[in-house]
């Protein structure tokens, strides 16, 4: 089906040769690869577990569903407000300290949630410096601090960890035309707030939603932070069913429910968005709204607060813990871990990016079905890592038996697992870039006799480059932080920083985990800073 025949598209029709175009089948092997592990999870329903389910629905599910919904809503609103707010401020406004702090706003991405969680808990808990100081000074345990370590405190950690997705994507969207439309609206006499909510925000909606989807998928699949804070969610129930009740089948069933929930969220969004897609003006106006007086300082304060909470405080805590062991760290005790982490991340990101490109190319001609396919293909991101790892492991060992391959236990299997898990992260930035591939370019090139592959290499790939770089960098950081699949599928000798952190944190030895954690954060910060500098440079500041 070509785009012309599609009655739903209100966009300028994309001119294509609809027949004999095999490109859309290119993604088929990829889809099979991604969907087999997901299918393994769904197939767990064949093995009903009525006993376990009766227990779960009676004693576990009520709290779990409430907590999960609460978490989805609170984190969703939190990352939305902070992400969009900061995105707007840094994209179109000028205020004291903006340039200085702007790159720091993305840095929480470099912190794995489990690191952020244990840094905060270590800081605020009974044995931590804040409480010790308080007790020494006032001779009592501070009530307000106790409240912070309550289970719901984890929501704050998740918001801090994931708002950068919304920030990054909405900021890019606001930069490409946010100010022009905003000023156009203002010139028609509408108030700032009205223009922002009626014009600027809807224009940025696809970007905001893409960021929200990433943030929420990661939130739902998160185990590290919720486990450290003891907040019961779907993920903790999945692990409890597996590790405690020894019932992997029921755990997989729970995981597939989680997957369904995410799919429904994505679909609901697609329907509510409707078919209208605003076209964005790529021209950038090199001036900004100057926030003066108290407004300027409010903006500075907001930005400073987030940087303080999301970056500075956890870094200080990690630094304090790491300080006594710093000699060892500099002495190169972690060198091989660093090298392994970097190699795996680079190779994995390369593969995931290729998969993302393949997906983008093959669905670029499909409209409605395309969304289905990409939403499905990206679902690996919403499944708790260890469960997905088992499913992939089962799929690969099954394949090995049937086809005589030797995937399981090898490096290739691990890299494929990364691709399955992070396909959505790789595809997201590419999807945004695909809209730049105007059909006119293809027509002109074709009329000049440029062949298909040549068109991709010489026109489309260069046009997609910003998306490609963003996707590569994001996946790079994700893989460096990834824990469960790395643990389960790494070949001998491929210990990474995350593996070492895991070993220490399972036994609550946070001080010892601080050194590899600090190195991981610094390592992750490199692509993150590169990301923000590049996007700033591209827009000409």
């Amino acid at each position: 089906m070509s785009a012309i025949a599609d009655p739903w598209t209100r966009k300028a029709p994309v001119v294509t040769r609809s027949t004999k175009d095999g490109r859309r089948w290119l993604a088929l092997p990829l889809l099979v690869l991604v969907l087999i592990p997901l299918g393994v999870l769904v197939a767990s329903w064949l093995d009903g577990q009525p006993d376990t389910w009766q227990h779960l629905s009676e004693h576990v599910m009520p709290r779990l569903v409430t907590n999960t919904l609460l978490m989805t809503v609170v984190v969703g609103v939190g990352v939305g407000v902070i992400g969009v707010g900061l995105g707007w401020l840094t994209a179109v406004c000028e205020f004291p300290g903006r340039r200085l702090m702007e790159p720091l706003l993305v840095l929480p991405l470099a912190f794995p949630t489990y690191v952020l969680a244990f840094a905060y808990l270590g800081l605020l808990d009974y044995g931590g410096p804040v409480q010790e100081f308080w007790r020494a000074t006032f001779n009592q345990t501070p009530g307000w601090l106790v409240a912070l370590r309550q289970p719901a405190g984890v929501l704050w950690i998740l918001i801090l960890a994931f708002y950068p997705y919304v920030y990054l994507l909405s900021r890019a969207s606001f930069m490409s035309g946010g100010l022009a439309t905003f000023e156009a609206g203002r010139s028609l006499g509408a108030s700032s707030a009205r223009v922002f909510f009626r014009v600027s925000l809807p224009a940025a909606r696809p970007a905001v939603v893409a960021g929200l989807a990433l943030a929420l998928m990661e939130t739902l699949a998160d185990f590290g932070a919720v486990a450290i804070f003891g907040f019961d969610t779907f993920t903790t129930a999945i692990y409890r069913t597996w590790y405690g009740l020894f019932n992997l089948a029921a755990a997989a069933q729970l995981a597939s429910l989680l997957m369904l929930f995410m799919l429904l969220l994505l679909l609901a969004e697609r329907f509510s968005r409707g078919r209208f897609r605003p076209r964005q003006d790529k021209r950038y106006k090199p001036h900004r709204i100057h926030l003066t007086g108290y407004r300027g300082w409010l903006a500075t304060g907001f930005q400073g607060l987030i940087v303080m909470l999301g970056v500075v405080i956890p870094l200080i805590q990690l630094g304090i813990w790491a300080w006594p062991q710093l000699g060892e760290a500099i002495g190169g005790r972690h060198n091989s871990l660093v090298v392994n982490t970097m190699l795996l991340s680079l190779m994995g990101a390369g593969l995931a990016l290729s998969a993302g490109l393949l997906l983008a190319f093959s669905v670029s001609r499909l409209r409605q079905q395309g969304h289905w396919i990409t939403d499905l293909a990206g679902l690996g991101y919403a499944i708790p890592g260890a469960v997905l790892a088992v499913a992939i492991m089962l799929a690969f060992t099954g394949m090995d038996r049937l086809a005589g391959t030797a995937l399981a236990g090898g490096l290739v299997a691990l890299l494929l697992a990364y691709s399955i898990r992070f396909l959505r992260v790789a595809y997201g930035p590419l999807e945004a870039g695909m809209s730049r591939l105007r059909p006119e370019y293809q027509e002109v090139a074709r009329s000049l006799g440029v062949s298909g592959w040549q068109r991709w290499v010489r026109i489309n790939l260069p046009l997609l480059r910003p998306g490609i770089v963003t996707a590569f960098m994001l996946v790079l950081v994700e893989i460096a932080k990834e824990m469960p699949a790395t643990l389960m599928m790494r070949p001998f000798g491929w210990e990474t920083l995350a593996v070492r952190i895991f070993e220490f944190t399972t036994e609550g030895e946070w001080e010892r985990a601080a050194v590899p954690a600090l190195i991981l954060v610094i390592l992750g910060a490199i692509p993150v800073i590169f990301l923000i500098r590049r996007s700033a440079g591209l827009m000409g500041r």
Binding site: Y126, L487, F502
Partner: protein
């Protein structure tokens, strides 16, 4: 783009280069492969000494117990692993149920490891003992007040008790043993009493829980002794003391770290050598003291901090029971709202 592909290619080359040292042919008998959930700094020194004395190279992979068991099951006869080494009898019991271990008939192990700390059929053997004790703040609790785990459900501990989360297998095993000794009904009353007495929601680690006792947030808790050992090693005057409960009744609840030979071990001879060596006098002292645990072998010297806690009588029930009753225990804890 060209740059990117160049980088990618050279990375692949590097990777392939490294991979060559990976899978060795099966006839390379001077190697043994271990899947373990223990931290590398607790086992690596031992493995190095094993290699020194036998010439057998030890390669190992760390992960959580459950994924390792599933990995073994998925790999089946293609596995590279010879030995599965983990903590907690529940996990070892489950590995046996999952049919990823095989019995090992060894007179050396039968002699070294007390009968209740190993599988009756030889699927797994305890290598160190981990005692789950009561810890208390000496200024706020008179040890005379303490007696058993059950007694912590008494009203006098209202708002004074701290516990670790029920997600942790140590608590699951403890409750499993309570069920074994008291029956489901009474065990449920006990655990429900604990929950009522909690001063704060459960902690995610024993260390945090002990720190809350030390900070005076609560007065008593239940913890594995070595967690307190670590804190006392760093600070001699750490304000938390240990109490050995149930001395008049069932004995202190103990668990183990242990190992078993995998069902499809490609190098069974080396697997046996490693497990036997770990239970031998040469290894036991270091094995236990690395994590301040208790050796399974009698007559091995203890770490001074550990020795200072005195002797105790431990629960002689076979630990396989902890595994058999684990899912029952988890359900019980869910029912009474112990999170």
């Amino acid at each position: 783009m060209r740059l990117l592909s160049c980088v990618g290619l050279s990375l692949l080359l590097v990777a392939c280069d490294r991979n060559d040292s990976g899978p060795l042919p099966p006839e390379a008998e001077s190697r043994v492969v271990v899947y373990t959930s223990r931290q590398s700094h607790l086992i690596e020194p031992l493995f190095e000494r094993f290699t020194e004395s036998t010439g057998i190279q030890v390669d190992y992979i760390t992960d959580s117990e459950a994924p390792l068991i599933e990995r073994l099951a998925a790999e089946g006869d293609r596995t590279q692993a010879d030995v599965f080494m983990t903590v907690d009898a529940g996990n070892l019991w489950f590995a046996t149920q999952r049919e990823v271990l095989q019995p090992l008939d060894s007179s050396a192990l039968a002699e070294a490891v007390p009968e209740n700390l190993r599988d009756p059929d030889g699927h797994w053997f305890g290598l160190s003992i981990r005692a789950r004790a009561i810890v208390y703040h000496p200024d706020r609790v008179d040890p005379e007040e303490l007696s058993t785990y059950q007694a912590l459900a008494d009203e006098k501990w209202d708002d004074r008790l701290c516990l670790r989360t029920s997600r942790k297998v140590y608590n699951q095993s403890l409750v499993a043993m309570l069920i074994e000794h008291l029956g489901t009904e009474e065990a449920e009353q006990v655990v429900s009493g604990w929950v009522d007495n909690l001063a704060v929601p459960p902690f995610s680690s024993d260390t945090q829980m002990i720190q809350a006792v030390g900070a005076g947030r609560c007065d008593v808790g239940i913890a594995n002794s070595y967690y307190l050992g670590r804190l006392q090693r760093d600070d001699e005057d750490y304000p938390v003391a240990i109490y050995w409960p149930n001395q008049e009744t069932s004995g202190v609840h103990v668990n183990i770290s242990g190992a078993g030979m995998t069902r499809h071990a490609p190098r069974p001879g080396n697997a046996r050598k490693l497990i036997e060596w770990l239970a031998s006098e040469a290894a036991q002292e270091e094995f236990a003291s690395l994590n301040m645990e208790y050796p399974v072998l009698d007559g091995v010297e203890l770490d001074p901090v550990v020795a200072a806690w005195g002797e105790f009588r431990h629960d002689p029930t076979n630990l396989a029971v902890a595994g058999e009753r684990q899912s029952e225990a988890v359900r019980l804890m869910d029912r009474v709202g112990y999170r």
